[in-house]
Each structure stands twice: as C-alpha cells, then as structure tokens.
Amino acid sequence: MAVARPLPVYATDQELYDALARRDDRAYAFLYTDTFPLFQNWMLRNSGTEMDAEDAFHKGMISLMQNLETGKYTLQPGTRIRSVLFEYAKCVWISELRSSRVRTRSPMTDEIDIQSVDDVSRDLERFELVQMVRNSLQQLKDDCRKLIEWFYVEELSLREIAQKMGLKESSVKSKRYACAEKLKAIYQQAEKQSGV
C-alpha cells in the first residue's frame, strides 16, 4: 500500500512539466492530488458520480501524459498544467456522455487552448489498443511477460534486465526478439477474433 508522503512543490509549471515528462512518480502524485478534488467537485455538480469522476480523470490523465511524452502536447507559456488536465478530464466526460447519448448540462468551456473533445475522443480509442495489448501480455509465459514489461512498460535497459534475469545482455536481446514475436502472434490472433 502506498504511504502518504509530503508532496514536492514545483516552483513553476515548467518544472512540473519536465518532471512529468520523465514520468517522475512524485510529479504524478502532485498533479493528481492537486487536481482530482477540484475535478470531482465539478463532476458532482454536473451530472457525474464519484465513480464517473475517477474514470474520466483516470483516462484524461493517461491521455495527457501520453501526449506529453510523445510531444503531441507541449506546455505553452502561462498555461497551468492543472487546468489542462482538468480540461482533458472534462473532455473525456463530455465524450462519454455523447457516446451514451446523454445530454450534458455543462457545455465545454473555451478558456484553455487544448485539444477539442473530438480529439480526446480519438485519444480514447487508444484505450482499446491498451486493453488488447494487456490481454495479449497476460497470455505470454511469465518469463516473456516480465521481460516485455521490464523493457517496454518500465523502460529498464537490457543491461538492467540481464542483471535481474541472471543472463548475458546479448541473450536478453535475443529473448526479447523471441518474446516480441510470440506477443505479436497472440495479438494478431486476438485482432482476427475481434474483427479489427
């Protein structure tokens, strides 16, 4: 279980942005703690429930962090990251309301220059991809699954993985290839079955 620790204070949004781009856990915790209560309050005032708030915030934060890491989102001068995350989560909620054919009582504001709801809707399609990748990973044998997760999810180096596995780096490299091919076979089979 996570232990409550004092959160860091970032002097500027640029510092926070840089820490988020490094996927720094403390920056993630800071942003979550700083933004989620405000968003939850907004949701409860706008037809949402606590669980809706958690879901929308979760997806919004993942989308923003993904865009931040890939450079699709870059920090603009004078922009508060907290406000951007809030708007992402709002877009997720509005997008889900649209897909449920439920009318929202809270139209999107235009206060901040971020992606439109439609852009976020397209981003949400990536969650289906994540689900397929997750399911495929789960079907790999343990050693392969761990290797792929260490390299691609936790972003450990081949050398670090070699130390964990007690293998030579060159052996890990070959094993990564073999495991990636197995993952591909499982993934493509799932794609066929789902008609993608």
Partner: protein
C-alpha cells in the same frame, strides 16, 4: 510476416529514433516499397504505444494510491466532497457487496481491513462504487424515483424480498429498464437465488451506461460462481482482473484465486 531478429532490431531502432539520417531514410524507403514491411512497422508502433500507455497507467495508479492514502491519513473527506452533499456511502455499498461475497463463501476475511487507512484505500481504489452509481437521473417521474429510493433503502437494510417486490412493481421505461434489471439481479443474488439473477444481469449488460455495465458484469460473474458455472465466470473475472482501470480488479483477482 515473420521478422528476422535483424529486421526486428532495425524496426526497434527506427521507432526509438536511434538511426542515423541515412539509415532512417533507408527504412522509410523499404516501407514505401514493401507493404508487408510497412504493416510490421505499424504493428510495432501500435504495440509500443499500448505498452507505453500501460506504463503511464501504472504511474497514474500509483499517484491515485498515494492520493487515497493521503486522504485516509488526513481524514479529510470534505476535501473531495462538495459542501452540503452527504457522503454517499461507499461504506454502505461495500457492506452490501461484501455480503454478496460472503454468501458466495469466498471469504469475507480476505476483504476485511486491518486499519481504517488500508480499508479506505482499498475501498476507494478497488471497490469504488455504491448503489447510486448508474442510477437513472433523467426522465423519471417523482413517484418512480421515490419507489427506486425506497427499494435502495430496503436493499441497504438487507430486506431483499422487499427490494424485489418494489422493483418488480416499477414501470419499465427506457430510463429504468437496465437499472431495474441490475437491481433485481443483485437482490436475487443477495437472496441466494443466482438462477433468477443471471438472466437479469445479462440483460443489464445492454445498458448504454459504462458504469452500470461494469457493475452488472462483476455481479454477473459472482452469480455464475454462486451457481457453480465457473467456466462462465472465468472469462469475465479474467478480463476484470487484468483491467487496472476496473474498480473490481482486485476483488476479481481474489475470487479467481478461490475458484481456480
């Protein structure tokens, strides 16, 4: 297309921006000339995106866990609840869900908490739900809303027969049909009648509400387990237990351990 190790490493380096300009141009020329090779690059790009997002999701989950822990430690629920709104009790729903789990014989002890902090954390991160989630909010007449609220109170009091009677008497409208099926299914299950619960919960899965569908799916899995249909429960529980965004993930993992 079966890649050689050399081709795989080349695509890895390309997607990781590790190639020289000349090598990069060469890969792009190959992609332009060979549709199968291009499809391989696209596949690897997609999977890398999915794996990267899994890593981000894990980081967000850790941030959430820390937030939940800090909330429990500070015992300041008003920070996350608007003034004037009651704490719509996750605690009550937890008790109801736990009673379902208990009657299934999969061990309440497994879900019991050791301290307020760990209980709250697990409650918020894994079982964040209550009976009002998925409750139809629009298009209900005052009398229907009152009937539903009365049924919810009866459920919380453990009077499942009364819930079933009340909910059956509700008019079936577009607004109520899925929630009604869900609540009836839940009540039948709590009343140790999974055979009656299963078709209702299956019907509730057709709801357009993702939140209600998630709940109905989880309770349906429990109904299958209770009815001795583990083979039908397993695919659902496996899906739920591997979805980190699903609030029932941990519970599903525990149930899977019990039935495997």
């Amino acid at each position: 297309m079966k890649l050689t190790e050399e081709q795989y490493e080349l695509i890895e380096a390309y997607l990781g921006n590790e190639l020289s300009a000349a090598d990069r141009a060469s890969v792009e020329a190959d992609m332009a000339a060979d549709a199968e090779f291009r499809a391989e690059v696209d596949y690897q790009r997609s999977v890398r995106t999915g794996l990267r997002m899994l890593g981000i999701e894990q980081a967000v989950n850790r941030a959430k866990a820390q937030y939940v822990a800090s909330q429990a430690a500070n015992a300041s629920p008003t920070l996350v609840r608007p003034l004037g709104q009651p704490d719509r009790s996750r605690w009550q729903y937890w008790a109801a869900a736990a009673s379902v789990v208990l009657l299934l014989g999969v061990g309440y002890g497994a879900y019991h908490y050791n301290s307020r902090q760990s209980y709250t954390a697990s409650l918020l991160s894994a079982q964040s739900d209550d009976l009002l989630k998925g409750f139809p909010r629009e298009g209900l007449s005052a009398s229907t809303r009152d009937q539903l609220m009365t049924a919810l109170e009866a459920y919380r009091a453990g009077n499942y027969d009364k819930v079933i009677d009340n909910v059956k008497a509700l008019p079936e409208t577009r607004q109520t049909v899925y929630y009604k099926d869900y609540l009836l299914g839940l009540s039948y299950l709590a009343n140790r009648e999974p055979v009656q619960a299963i078709p209702l919960l299956q019907s509730a899965l057709a709801t357009p509400s993702p939140v209600l569908r998630q709940k109905a799916e989880w309770i349906l899995a429990l109904a299958y387990v209770k009815n001795g249909q583990n083979e039908k429960a397993l695919p659902i529980l496996t899906r739920v237990s591997t979805n980190k965004a699903n609030p029932y993930q941990k519970l599903a993992q525990q149930v899977l351990q019990k039935i495997r």
